[in-house]
Symmetry: C2
Subunit: 204 residues, 2 copies
């Protein structure tokens, strides 16, 4: 039906859902009709959560991860190794890495990468907060920073910047290894991964 025949709140909901990543106009319409016809508590609960989502969360003043206590549960945990900080681009990477159960240190969330082409410099991401953690008088026990930015150009530029800034600092700066993914088929390896694998080869 011509959209002016749809109730305004329905077209507004479709438009608002279309703004979410990965949701086109067709999916947005399907979701809106689902929510219109679902048990009433479903859209009401989701709506209530979305209304409160940003107001009831903040960034941890230490690691800049999303949290609802200050400092966050990770930064205030006694079970984590406080001598190593894993630096990630976005909060969701903290979930990804922690789910693997391989890393027991602390995190630092940059909320972005350096990208001169897009006009994002060091002051646009949470680097100041990282330096503060590493400075004398900060979390003085930190011995290593593992930079876990993405293996793309901005991620690499960010890792390099952090390494350069900490060059005259006693803290070790490392980066996650790159190479062939476990279980992957060499036949289908991309050339960049192969170059990393070759450069990083180990003597057996």
């Amino acid at each position: 039906m011509s959209s002016e025949l749809l109730p305004g709140i329905v077209t507004d909901t479709i438009a608002s859902l279309s703004r979410l990543p990965g949701i086109g106009p067709r999916s947005a319409q399907r979701l809106a009709y689902f929510l219109l016809q679902a048990p009433e508590h479903l859209p009401r609960e989701l709506g209530d959560l979305l209304m409160r989502l940003q107001a009831e969360t903040e960034l941890c003043r230490i690691c800049c991860n999303i949290c609802d206590t200050q400092p966050c549960a990770l930064c205030s945990s006694r079970d984590r190794d406080r001598s190593v900080i894993c630096v990630v681009e976005e909060p969701q990477i903290v979930s990804v890495i922690d789910r693997m159960g391989q890393f027991n240190g602390l995190y630092h969330v940059l909320h972005g990468t350096l990208s001169p082409l897009d006009g994002r410099g060091p002051e646009d991401i949470r680097l100041k907060e990282l330096w503060r953690r590493l400075d004398v008088g900060g979390e003085a026990e930190v011995r290593e920073v593992i930079v876990a930015t993405s293996p793309d150009l901005p991620g690499q530029a960010t890792a390099q910047w952090i390494a350069d800034e900490l060059r005259n600092h006693p803290i070790k700066v490392s980066q996650l290894a790159r190479g062939l993914a476990a279980g992957s088929d060499l036949e289908y390896a991309d050339d960049v991964s192969f170059r990393f694998a070759l450069e990083g080869r180990r003597i057996l």
Copy 2:
């Protein structure tokens, strides 16, 4: 991170988003992080719309489509042909058909199909409301009912039920034609469509 380290409102939002059709746990997490970091008005506006969505809409007392006026804009329009009613399963089909601009009559939304296997009988869908429109004293000018249910078993059962119920009624009951989709390749036609196409063949 172990989920107990995520703020409760974030895990609740991820769980609530996962209940939407076509959105798995990974997409739900991606959407939640997007909404956490989006400009604040975005989640607030969507949340507000979802809170109000069902409260501010209702079903048209004539055609049972979703509306915010009684009767709905379509049923009260003077530009529509009131002698023909197109019967559809769900409100979104009204949008689909009306967008094509080929049909200028009225609609009737059943909100489901007959499906004895799932225990859905005539009283579970909006058939009573359809009979009322066709009865003497109702919209007496209706001359044809076009049943536009889906070309599957419940859709076909529903169409047949409507045709049988109106057998001794002066109103004509028709069904959308089935066959090969325009522009489709015969090589890839499914057997059911081909059977419909063969049965409905026309003399040239």
